[in-house]
């Protein structure tokens, strides 16, 4: 047992006035926060090389206010649109959006698919907890069919998105998915996403024990992590499985990594030509 408390190796990245988070005990978002900071540090980058943008929801509180860097905390669903303007104004800065599944695929769905289509260079981390946590457990576009939530008291009558498939279909040049059970793999993938010259999307399933864990009966944060572990299957393995076998599984890994013309670069070329 130690009598002194050592400073966490990532403490220098945390805003001095925001050392504690408002997250529920056991929330997966803190695991992802560490993963992001480790990825940035591991690449030899500084937090000041980035501008972070987030929307509304628990996930949006990952960079806001904790990350000690430029952070824009936007209106619900819109971080990607705000981030587009930031990237246009500061093309040399790395722009990272961190927001939730409700924020990015419900109210923000339109901005998500268009940014992917445009292939604008930014990293978008979509934190998927399958529910609207901050507002008390309403159904989300990712909530499983049949689940009872506070706005689907008779069971969710809708099919959920496979967000990674959606973003892949929209034309993103990098798409990956992990869960908070896989922080080391997640960190490696986030590094790749940051370095990608194009729209890089990482979906991270993160446990919300208070809302999702309770509603589904999966349980507390530890039980949810064990559930992620049991349900996950890597892409390599999944490719050898039948659709029925995959129905209730979470396929994880890097799904898309291609090169396409990137928006900001294309605009810069247009500008250079026009100014000549």
């Amino acid at each position: 047992m130690s009598l002194t408390t050592f400073e966490h190796p990532l403490a220098k990245y945390i805003r001095p006035s925001a050392k504690k988070t408002a997250n529920c005990p056991g929330c997966g978002n803190g695991i992802l926060a560490q993963g992001i900071l480790r990825a940035i540090e591991g690449l030899g980058l500084a937090l000041d090389d980035f501008v972070f943008v987030s929307g509304i929801g628990c996930a949006a509180w990952i960079p806001s206010p904790s990350f000690f860097a430029d952070v824009l905390h936007t209106t619900h669903g819109r971080p990607i649109a705000f981030a587009t303007g930031i990237k246009a104004a500061l093309p040399h800065k790395r722009v990272m959006v961190v927001s939730g599944d409700g924020d990015l695929t419900a109210i923000g769905g339109n901005h998500l698919i268009h940014a992917a289509r445009r292939n604008i260079a930014m990293t978008v981390i979509c934190v998927n907890n399958g529910i609207y946590g901050m507002t008390g457990g309403q159904v989300a576009p990712t909530t499983p069919l049949g689940l009872t939530t506070v706005t689907t008291p008779f069971g969710n009558a809708e099919n959920p998105f496979d967000i990674s498939e959606l973003v892949k279909g929209a034309g993103a040049s990098f798409v990956a998915r992990w869960t908070t059970y896989h922080p080391r793999q997640m960190e490696k993938t986030i590094k790749k996403a940051i370095q990608k010259k194009g729209f890089a999307f990482v979906e991270v399933l993160s446990q919300c024990p208070v809302e999702f864990g309770r509603k589904t009966g999966i349980g507390n944060s530890v039980q949810m992590l064990e559930w992620y572990k049991a349900k996950s299957v890597t892409l390599a393995r999944a490719q050898g499985m039948q659709p029925e076998e995959l129905r209730d599984r979470i396929v994880v890994g890097e799904f898309v990594d291609v090169d396409k013309p990137e928006l900001i670069e294309t605009l810069a070329a247009i500008r250079a030509k026009a100014m000549a």
Binding site: M1, S2, L3, T4, T5, F6, E7, H8, P9, L10, A11, I14, K19, K20, T21, N23, C24, P25, G26, C27, G28, N29, G30, I31, A33, Q34, G35, R38, T180, P183, R184, N220, S221, V222, L225, E226
Partner: protein
Amino acid sequence: MGKQVIISINDNLCKGADGCGICLALCPKDVFKVAERLTARGIRPPVVEKITACTTCENCVIYCPDMAIVVRLDEMPEAAAAVKGPAE
């Protein structure tokens, strides 16, 4: 000779084993146990029970959602970066 492992738990950042408990569950060597008494904030943090079992896998560090655990190898207690706490 043998390296010394020091595990530091910030009781001020920790949200308690009852609500969280991830470090306890994800430690492959059962290094932690739950504190018997509540802290002044009303939570029961993990405490190190079997330091010699620690392999510095750092699962506890990486999986802690509150960045409350630090694992150091071969550090002396009077290291410059040591932060006394929980005084905040």
